[in-house]
Symmetry: C2
Subunit: 340 residues, 2 copies
């Protein structure tokens, strides 16, 4: 157990008031001898001011919380690292909380972080969160009086501005690249369409097709969930082979697509071109290094830390979303469509 | 701002004492009507009991802290996920703190977690920590009266027992596998030898060579630091080409080794066999899927959570290290030595 002021009073024979005054640097009327004795006892007993008590008074812990869906997912761990660096730059410590993509755990962690007295929260909503539930989550942070900022997965609702990627543009860039290479039958593995970012990547795909006058082929759209397994399942579902390219809405599902294509004896990009999304750490390590969409994750994380710090210092909220632009990363998984 | 008991007293006209008794469930002498009015006001004002104040009294937060060197490193994020699951199983929440492998940040986070009133700490020491500094770090947690357990990177000192991998056995398995394939000139990329786990992997390598009567070739030992860059640099340093196999002490450096070998026009495993260590997420995704050593990370994480929970419930400390055994994972990067 940590030594309390009481313990020091007991050890030295001075009153709790006297000890408290000395330890809180308000002992200017107390003799040097007494002060020295109390400080010596405090050192010997490993006394430390109780931050809980200090926080109660100051209401500032210089600590932020970050709620992430899955810390073992490279995308989120990179984002977390960016936010960590930003927090360090702005003199904050950071507690990360991993929710296993369950909304109920976001709620629990928001409450716990508030109880612990953190100064602000970066919240990434969970995959199973509806728009209505997301609004309730933001409202909870408002009710708790805790400054907050949504990162990465955002909500299309008033008062829910956050730091986001331009995912429509990302989906558009990926698809336009395939169109530029001569592809006309472009399959798509979507993310979980409950998520706004997945809907937007898919919207970008549709926008590129529409602009080029290419009809959308419903049978080539596979509703995935951002997992490797859903990429594999998608390829199996397209067994008639009427496509020459795939846009997978994240790298994990793109990896599943590639694995299944290679397992079926197809070549990449000879038979089928594949584009992913995220530029995960392994994208360039794959057997066929993956053409993909890179989001400026580190910069996003740094900016999130800057914004939250400003919001606290200036008592403001974020009025407009802050949008980061994605970039096409060309590697070896895409090529011109084979002429028949 | 969060509504306080004072605010509710002001809003209802009752005294702070009355409001406090009702909200702390000690209002059995207070009329039902008064109780109802106070509870209604508490709801309307979004009152929540202040956990900081509650923690001061109960000294239990049902929350653990985990200090990790680098959350964007797949090995540590998997370990963190295992600990997270364990905490969830034992009814604890978990705050992760990422230190960028700097000992000074371990110390800061230990202090902050203690101040915040977490019930216990899982500590992974930083790469730059000497044995003496590690002992001081453990002593700090003892002084703070906070139950703690070292995970993964352990200290060879009394009172510092933790959850560890049998890294000597891991290094031995990797090297013995290459010896079994007929290799006699086996190069090694070590980890940062300040770390006990890196020293042990290397000790396992030496043990296997010694047992087979193969002389250690100093010029084939490269002092790396667990990075991809150090794997590349190692291959460049062995330009005379007198080796047929490499044991890289983690997968990141093994990936660097493979990249550089392929860049120099060598084939894997035709010219050179490569074994890694960790079984990182990308090990099987590589151009040449990597033979490596798998540590039971998830199980380690779960066990760490169980042990820390027990230590708290039974007021004990860990007397003996808990050792997990590694396993050789065979893939495509190793083969029999070419006959001349």
């Amino acid at each position: 157990m940590r030594a309390s002021i009481k313990d020091i009073a007991r050890a030295t024979g001075y009153s709790i008031t006297t000890v408290s005054l000395v330890l809180n640097n308000k002992g200017n009327k107390i003799s040097a001898e007494t002060t020295a004795k109390i400080l010596e006892a405090a050192r010997a007993l490993h006394y430390r001011p109780n931050q809980l008590a200090v926080s109660l008074v100051k209401q500032r812990s210089k600590t932020f919380g970050l709620i992430v869906p899955d810390i073992s997912n490279g995308y989120f761990s990179s984002l977390a690292t960016g936010i960590e660096r930003g927090c360090q730059k702005y003199g904050r410590m950071l507690f990360l909380c991993s929710t296993n993509d369950q909304r109920s755990r976001n709620i629990k962690y928001i409450n716990r972080l508030a109880e612990m007295g953190v100064d602000g929260i970066f919240d990434i909503i969970s995959r199973d969160t509806t728009l209505e539930e997301g609004i309730v989550e933001v409202q909870l942070m408002n009710d708790l009086g805790i400054p907050h900022i949504l990162v990465d997965r955002i909500l299309d609702a008033p008062g829910c501005a956050g730091i986001e990627n331009n995912h429509i543009q990302g989906g558009y860039l990926a698809t336009q690249h395939l169109i530029d290479l001569g592809h006309r039958h472009i399959a798509c593995v979507t993310g979980p369409t409950l998520l706004e970012d997945a809907r937007r990547r898919y919207a970008g795909y549709k926008k590129a097709l529409r602009e080029s006058g290419i009809p959308l082929e419903e049978q080539l759209i596979y509703r995935g969930d951002y997992t490797q397994a859903s990429g594999k399942a998608a390829v199996k579902s397209w067994s008639d082979g009427s496509y020459t390219a795939v846009f997978a809405c994240n790298d994990a599902s793109a990896f599943g697509v590639c694995q299944q294509l290679l397992a079926e004896g197809k070549t990449i990009p000879g038979d089928i071109s594949v584009v992913g999304y995220d530029d995960a750490i392994y994208a360039e390590m794959l057997q066929v290094p993956l053409t993909t969409i890179r989001q400026p994750i580190q910069e996003m994380g740094m900016e999130a830390a800057r914004q939250l710090t400003e919001m606290i210092n200036r008592h403001t909220t974020l009025k407009e979303p802050i949008v980061f632009e994605p970039q096409l990363i060309l590697r070896s998984s895409t090529a011109e469509r084979n002429r028949p």
